[in-house]
Symmetry: C2
Subunit: 175 residues, 2 copies
Amino acid sequence: MNATIPHTTPTPKAARLPEELVASSTFLLKRLGFAAKEQSLAAYEQTGVHPYHHAILIVLDERSHETQGSIADALGYDRGQLVGLLDELEEKGLVQRRRDPNDRRRHLVTLTPEGTKMLRRLRALATEVESDFLSPLTDIERAQLHGLLFRLAEKHEPRCALSVPPPDAPSDAAG
Amino acid sequence: MNATIPHTTPTPKAARLPEELVASSTFLLKRLGFAAKEQSLAAYEQTGVHPYHHAILIVLDERSHETQGSIADALGYDRGQLVGLLDELEEKGLVQRRRDPNDRRRHLVTLTPEGTKMLRRLRALATEVESDFLSPLTDIERAQLHGLLFRLAEKHEPRCALSVPPPDAPSDAAG
DNA sequence: TATTGTTATACTCTATAACTATA
DNA sequence: TATAGTTATAGAGTATAACAATA
């Protein structure tokens, strides 16, 4: 390795990202979103289900007897993708599908008692992952961050908008 | 459609995400990271290059004559992946590879004048995308958001850390 | 033997659309 | 004809590791 003189290496050994990229919030969002996804996946491995499954269970816990289409729409999943996810949840006994007697094309999906139990476990895990991911921030900073992310999500992920502003109210109030 | 009585639809037509998910910052980070990626990809289509290519050009603009390994390390890319990206940049005449005479295993990569020109264009485009993505926020809020994201990135994307804390300083000070 | 760059392979995701059964 | 769910297929993207040249 040409090791007579250690070259004084003024450039740091640990490779750093260009400041220009680090200065970009969208760049950081992409990287952090990826990191959050990876950490979630690693944590969920022990449970045998994917964060996708967790989201489905949450939807069913809010309003059971959803149709597959309404679940897919609520989460932004493709309907074809949802079929496989529900197959897996059903195999594990966490949800149950039955035909809607009023429209036999539809499946009504419900949470089983085992599904409710799993959901409890997944909620605890998700809280843990979130808390760990945000650990560099104080509680106040976490609230600030969430508020800012939510404002962006209202625009870029409209499904996040919690309430549709009433037509006669000034729309600014909803922000 | 069984259209005698319109059902009064108390559930909103627009499918909404469960509040539980929207309340999670890591969930929002994942979705926003994905949205940022999608918007970048759409914007970069007109240029014929990918955001990956842009990042490589930025690295070369900071410090030319990088080896392929150091570029990959700086950006966190796989070295095998980088080969193809550099092939594409070279085909377009934006970068040039030549062997390092001091170590003939290595390739030194440099920006061509065309690459510099393209980089100018890409910088303008990236600024536009960023500005549009953050448009719901005021300048002060944008700065707040970036500060918070950066603090998270220092932990979850160590390549973002701008300066290595001096060994004699208390490590807590580095956040 | 270890490292740089290259190539090949395989695997995961996702997007698309064809297909069925019901309406 | 249109819709809900299902299935199959293809494509992009990514990760892994085998490989040749050089140290």
